[in-house]
């Protein structure tokens, strides 16, 4: 598969999630909404290898992998809107997208993708030799026991699994390295699984390393763990507080700063040193958000691929136009009958 097709997958996903964002801002999606915006290269690089019979376990960021896996965008949008003719009859929702046809399952429980991929792979071994299972999760999930247990199980049962860690440095408002000991590579090898790293902003790099790992798995050579880095351009979820502060400080900062200062100065409690140490932590989370990759265009894998394709501007613009049409058509189709 060439860069054009990979770009198509990624750009389509980005466009799709732009549509989701619209629905969310209009209040048509009621609660939490986590996007894959920023991790498209990882998803495309892996999912583009999957064939019928392969299975996929995803975390709370389901829309990108489901779309790229071929799940109908209209039925997904209808699901997010809670319609009876949605992908899951409006019963599952964005953290619980499920497609039996694609053997694709989401879960909002951090780390649950590990056991799920192991079970999918076990069934593959028994019923569909040559097929595999992929698990997508974040680096924060690497401290969840059931995921660590699963990596070990995939190793000792020599299962056809590809564990894909989408490392964005963050678990919501926590910088994961501050609470993760050792090196992920050593951790994974210490659980008996082959470990590879790849640049999660570079779709062709991901596709290459994923391809090797998946070939091994199909050939019965056991599981691999692919560690990739990315940034989530929209933060943890839509309306993410830390990003709101930075994008609209005049409006958001006082809401936080006033009670914070009052509490900082409140009688009774820790020493000034303790209080300052606490204040430093709160501020660093905000500062690190300002300066972290989320704000920087060169961390956008879709733009990166686009730049690589600039030589043929005409084809590029045509492709973008097609994708926009495709998605806005899907959006319209999904919204039929909704009073705007």
């Amino acid at each position: 598969m060439d860069l054009w097709s990979l770009y198509y997958l990624m750009k389509k996903s980005r466009q799709f999630e732009a549509a989701i964002t619209q629905l969310w801002e209009q209040g048509l999606i009621s609660a939490e909404m986590h996007l894959g915006t920023g991790e498209e290269a990882i998803i495309a690089g892996v999912v583009s290898h999957l064939v019928p019979g392969d299975a996929m376990a995803v975390d709370h960021r389901g829309s990108a992998p489901f779309l790229m896996r071929g799940v109908d965008p209209i039925s997904m949008l209808k699901e997010l809107l809670g319609f009876e003719d949605g992908l899951c009859g409006g019963m599952g929702g964005h953290m619980h997208l499920l497609s039996k046809e694609h053997l694709a399952a989401s879960s909002g429980i951090v780390g649950a993708g590990g056991p799920t991929a192991v079970g999918f792979a076990l069934a593959a071994q028994h019923l569909r030799p040559g097929t595999i299972a992929v698990a997508f999760f974040g680096e924060g999930a690497m401290n969840q026991g059931m995921l660590l247990e699963s990596i070990n199980m995939a190793s000792v049962w020599s299962l056809p699994v590809l564990f894909v860690c989408k490392d964005d440095d963050w678990s919501i408002t926590t910088e994961s390295k501050t609470l993760t000991g050792g090196e992920l590579g050593e951790r994974v090898r210490g659980l008996g699984v082959r470990y590879v790293e790849s640049d999660g902003m570079d779709v062709e790099a991901v596709r290459k390393s994923a391809g090797e790992a998946i070939e091994r798995a199909r050939a019965g050579k056991g599981p691999s763990f692919l560690h990739t880095r990315c940034v989530h351009l929209e933060g943890h979820l839509l309306g993410f507080s830390l990003l709101r502060i930075i994008r609209n400080p005049l409006k958001e900062l006082p809401k936080i700063a006033v009670p914070l200062t009052r509490s900082f100065l409140r009688l009774g409690g820790g020493s000034l040193r303790d209080r300052l140490a606490g204040m430093r932590i709160v501020l660093s989370r905000i500062m690190d958000t300002i300066y972290d990759g989320r704000q920087q265009a060169h961390n956008d894998p879709v733009l990166r691929a686009r730049n690589a394709l600039q030589q043929d501007t005409a084809r590029l613009q045509e492709l973008d136009r097609l994708i926009e049409q495709e998605i806005s058509a899907a959006l319209e189709a999904a919204l039929v009958g909704v009073a705007q």
């Binding site: 899951c88 019963m91 619980h96 429980i109 649950a112 079970g119 076990l122 028994h126």
Partner: protein, 336 residues
């Protein structure tokens, strides 16, 4: 008529299912030795040992079921579900609803449960009412070898997740494995008709949610599952000698409940006495009271359950777990 031991019957029914359906696989800790008879018949691809990683292998069981297998996942004891509850609470139980009815997980979780042999409160829990609280789980608690085998078959034919609880006092081989086999000096109050009994030549699935009336009597209805059924039957005998005629209803399935059988019997006797080895509060006994009330049946209610953490000391344990004496006293108080 052919007779079998309780666990022997379960394994025999599993053997029949494995023979007829290649999708049935079996895994859990020490399963290769605990189920060695199945291992040497079906081989290591169908009978697998797992690391001590309950949350991974139970979760894997759910997904394997989603992807076409019919796994039986064994827990060493139901108490150990604590580390793996997420797989049942947030995944197995919710899949069918979340998928809009399009996807189910035909998984059987097999776990020894129950007390009465002195293993202490962290290894003798029942938890069937606790598990039944979660919509989407089927919970089975057989009390005889025949039911055990037939319900295991029913569990394997069911399209959703089933918790199959195997009471340790009925499991000859498990008690012997836990050490009783190493000496002759220890005995437990084991219900004979529960541990060994007649079984069908060929196993056929029992319908789920169908209770069995083990004994008919007009004065009150004793309702229970598992070993409790045998305690209730013993109590019923004694009560009879005191002129009290008791029905004994064996629910067999905790969830779904056989409300019809319950209404019918309590409707006749007007007195419901629940015998439940699971914890008393917020569980099976309360649910039975509520269900009969909702049916608008007038009745008196009492329960003999496990009211606290199970003590280690055998003597105290025998007091905490529902015993014949407590059942008789409760029955007499209920009627007078």
């Amino acid at each position: 008529m052919k007779k079998m031991y309780f666990t022997e019957a379960i394994d025999d029914a599993i053997g029949q299912a494995m023979r007829n359906d290649h999708r049935v696989v079996l895994f859990g800790e020490d399963v290769p030795l605990l189920r060695r008879n199945l291992l040497v018949r079906f081989g290591p691809h169908r009978v697998m040992g797992t690391p001590i990683s309950e949350s991974a292998f139970l979760g894997a069981g759910v997904a394997a079921a989603m992807a076409g297998l019919r796994p039986i996942v064994e827990l060493y004891m139901v108490d150990f579900i604590g580390v793996a509850m997420d797989a049942l609470l947030n995944h197995a139980a919710k899949l069918e609803t979340f998928s809009g009815g399009k996807w189910t997980a035909p998984l059987v979780v097999r776990a020894p449960c129950g007390g009465g042999y002195g293993d202490g409160g962290q290894h003798e829990q029942s938890l069937w009412g606790w598990l039944a609280h979660i919509p989407g789980l089927t919970v089975l608690v057989p009390s005889t070898p025949a039911d055990a085998g037939s319900l295991m078959l029913a569990a394997l034919e069911h399209d959703g997740p089933v918790i199959f609880l195997e009471h340790k006092l009925l499991s000859e081989s498990f008690l012997e494995f836990l050490g009783s086999g190493g000496r002759r000096t220890v005995t437990y109050d084991i219900p004979e008709t529960g541990v060994h009994g007649p079984v069908p030549k060929k196993w056929a699935a029992l319908p789920l949610g169908k209770a069995a009336l083990r004994r008919e009597g007009g004065d009150l209805t004793l309702v229970s599952v598992g070993v409790g059924v045998h305690r209730a039957l013993e109590a019923a005998k004694i009560l009879e000698s005191e002129g009290i005629k008791a029905s004994v209803l064996d629910l067999r399935t905790v969830s779904p409940l056989d409300k019809t059988a319950l209404y019918e019997s309590v409707g006749k006797t007007g007195n419901l006495l629940v015998v439940d080895e699971d914890y008393e509060g917020f569980g099976l006994s309360g649910e039975l009271a509520a269900v009969v009330m909702e049916a608008g049946i007038a009745f008196n209610f009492a329960r003999v359950c496990t009211q606290s953490t199970i003590p280690y000391a055998r003597s105290r344990e025998d007091q905490i777990l529902p015993n014949v004496e407590r059942i008789c006293t409760a029955a007499i108080n209920l009627l007078h």
